[in-house]
Symmetry: C2
Subunit: 126 residues, 2 copies
């Protein structure tokens, strides 16, 4: 059985993928992969995801220029989650213009935005 077949794809043919910044070890995003996206990750060395909202492959950085260069691809003990270590071009992984997506921190019973916006999304996607 090939390495792609060893992954436990869910009923939609997807697995969740955690993307972590290689230098800082910051968790940048949680996204999803289908078989083709994971194959492209391995072949091209650039992060490619499956966009559930747009229902198509999403070459990370194709619009923003914020590509992710893959340093390693890992699979967990249950074969149903992937971890990518990447170099984040431009230092911005989140579509809100922040370094990473996990900027809402639970404090005193509320989600509080804790990370600065580094670049206006209007500039990123113009």
């Amino acid at each position: 059985m090939g390495w792609l077949e060893q992954v436990k794809w869910n009923d939609d043919g997807l697995v969740p993928v955690i993307t972590q910044e290689f230098e800082t070890k910051q968790v940048l995003t949680l996204a999803w992969l289908n078989k083709e996206a994971l194959k492209l990750c391995a072949e091209t060395g650039h992060a490619v995801y499956w966009s559930r909202s747009r229902q198509k492959l999403w070459h990370k950085g194709e619009q923003s220029g914020h590509q992710q260069i893959i340093k390693s691809i890992r699979l967990d003990c249950d074969n149903d989650a992937v971890l990518l270590e990447v170099v984040q071009k431009g230092g911005i992984a989140c579509h809100t213009g922040r370094h990473h997506c996990f900027f809402n921190k639970l404090e005193e019973g509320r989600w509080q935005a804790t990370e600065p916006v580094l670049k206006d999304p209007k500039e990123i996607y113009s």
Copy 2:
């Protein structure tokens, strides 16, 4: 709307949760939360997950003693993924007796186990 209601629960009432070690920033596990589990995480300060295989709450470490003390709870930009920062008791998060679950690394077209087993699972769960 309360902070628990702001989370976008999927059709099964779950969200994926990334658990990261506070000191080392190592990604330990990807697991799942339902509303009750996330509430218990916030109330008790200990990681509680929803076990999809056993279909019940899973108080991490209840059998193994490898509890996780929560340092922060974060939600991503789309409100559909959670990140926990934890202190991992015993230094073992994975049921295989390894530090973390992402020990299968893609190398030359194969998943290669790269992390040492720190404790025999038979000892952990006896």
